[in-house]
Symmetry: C2
């Protein structure tokens, strides 16, 4: 099936001659993950010579000989094929490439046979480590084979607390969102969550705990009349925001635990002829790039730090990723746009 | 850096014994891309034994010996990290996996050095072929190294017409969108394009040609007063839809050449207190899953056939992908929702 091409191109010797360095230097620069024992200038000269001559290392032979390749595996369920988390791959890849490593991504869509074959393949290619990424933040059953190389669970947590994990700090995010509304002067702050607490979904539980903490800290009692549990889509946002805003004691602000829910709340406000933020302030969560900046007015929301999380997972692998079961929670920054203001004076 | 694990596990002999077949059969089933010379039952028995025993082939040794791996490379610019085209990878991977092949994805973000290193790595791993995917439909300068293996350009076209390409049929899409509005009874059909024609962007040129063709075919003259050239974002959709709808002779229908532009047109209609589709019908293009179904009313639009295109690219590779420069245009299906109705009776 494949057209083969005879390998009679330039040798490592040719590259060394062109770069004016020893063959050992070429080998070390090309084979070391970081190559940091040489100056940037030397590394650049070697890379220029490789480029110019079109030198191609035989990665298979090299890997067999040296036991490790310049590649980090990225094994994801559907993280690469959903519209939300592409930046997590961007971050991981950017960080890997800074050290001259490539990121090899395989997607399983949650198919266990495909996952097993993919991981098998990665391991037999002697990857330097594996990032095991979840599409959304949850506790995962992690394949044991991952323990063969430095591995990190990304955007999720290892249920068995063996591998290190990198995940968003949901509770701090919920706290920050709510605190932002309280600081604007709101005391009637509602929350529409994305799942029940019984779901044990870290995003739902954490964001709710953050809301409760900020309210309690400010001396505002949390009222069940102001809390709703949806399923994270616009329809629920629309329904529950309508319910809240037409109740006897409507909130002056709503913390929607994701941007889609916030979009539904915008649609509810429009139907009720209420203006955002004049009549009701809204804060979302996720900072979905296709949604949050494009709403009118732009949505103030918390950003899931996908780029930073991806970078951090690769950092941990480059440091050896000891299987110590730690979970590193990363801060979700507040992105301020125009959906929050102080509440109207009571008449 | 990597913790090594001694390879003292089960051998191919053990697998053959467990499956009740010869060692040659195991080898052929595991190494052949399609493995189709054996019955499904035999292949299943071998796979079950492999699974049960935890047998891991040494892919490196195998590839060096046999010259080809069970892996197809997928090299993309930013296709995997933008929120729009994840399904193209899903399709490619699904098709590869049906033949027992894995899809190895590398993203370059358009960085030429990273692209070259990624391709180098893929080729030295003896991939069975490479899918070279563009984030959006355009004419690409394709690395010559791709000609070493069966390769296909996906969601774009090889500028030099060497490699086969798989791309959306933009013109048929523009025709279908416009025809749908004409069939609903509209004659005042405007179009807001996503780029100028001078851009030579296939999506802009093709969709406009389709619009022109449908209008002309129906005997409706194309008026420059009804055509606007934006840049594909909501703001342009908002601005141009406002312009069109407040003109002396407002259109009764607008074909927006992407969904984001259509979203802007929705916002314009809302500000002008015009109802969709009662006062103005709208058709979009792209069927963005995070947008089109969630607008109120749901947006009638054309779908970019990402899954099908991804599958087709892998099909072509499995068939050898001769570098004959052909471009296979794939149909964008009309997705009907609620943004189109017949025009109001003139008073």
């Amino acid at each position: 099936m494949a057209r083969s091409r005879p390998h009679s191109g330039p040798t490592m010797h040719d590259v060394a001659a062109a770069a004016g360095v020893s063959q050992a230097t070429v080998s070390l620069v090309l084979n070391s993950a970081s190559g940091s024992r040489f100056s940037d200038e030397t590394r650049q000269r070697v890379k220029d010579a490789v480029q110019q001559l079109g030198y191609r290392t035989n990665a298979h032979a090299k890997t067999l000989r040296e036991g490790i390749s310049g590649i980090i595996g990225f094994l994801g369920d559907a993280v690469a094929t959903t519209p939300f988390a592409g930046k997590i791959i961007e971050g991981a890849q950017e960080r890997a490439w800074e050290d001259g490593l490539l990121l090899l991504t395989m997607n399983t869509g949650g198919d266990k046979a495909l996952e097993s074959a993919s991981l098998d393949s990665m391991l037999s290619y002697k990857v330097a480590g594996v990032v095991y990424a979840g599409m959304y933040h949850r506790r995962l059953d992690v394949p044991e084979a991952l323990e063969a190389v430095p591995s990190v669970v990304l955007n999720s947590q290892d249920r068995k607390l063996r591998l290190p994990s990198v995940a968003p700090d949901e509770e701090l995010g919920g706290y920050t969102a709510t605190r932002h509304l309280i600081e604007a002067g709101h005391t009637q702050v509602a929350m529409i969550n994305i799942e029940t607490l019984e779901s044990e979904l870290p995003a739902a539980v954490g964001r709710f705990n953050g809301y409760t903490k900020a309210m309690t800290e400010a001396g505002i009692p949390v009222s069940s009349e102001l809390v709703r549990f949806g399923t994270g889509n616009e329809d629920d946002g629309f329904t529950y925001a309508t319910e809240l805003l037409t109740s006897g004691k409507p909130p002056t602000a709503i913390f929607c635990a994701n941007d889609r829910t916030a979009w539904g709340a915008y649609q509810a406000a429009a139907e009720l002829h209420l203006s955002i933020p004049g009549d009701v302030s809204i804060v979302g969560f996720d900072n979905q790039e296709t949604l949050a900046p494009h709403l009118r007015p732009g949505l103030t929301t918390l950003e899931l730090p996908f780029v930073e999380m991806g970078r951090r997972a690769v950092d941990l692998i480059l440091q050896g990723a000891e299987p110590d079961g730690r979970v590193e929670f990363m801060t979700c920054p507040l992105i301020e746009r125009n959906s929050v203001t102080h509440p109207k004076e009571k008449p």
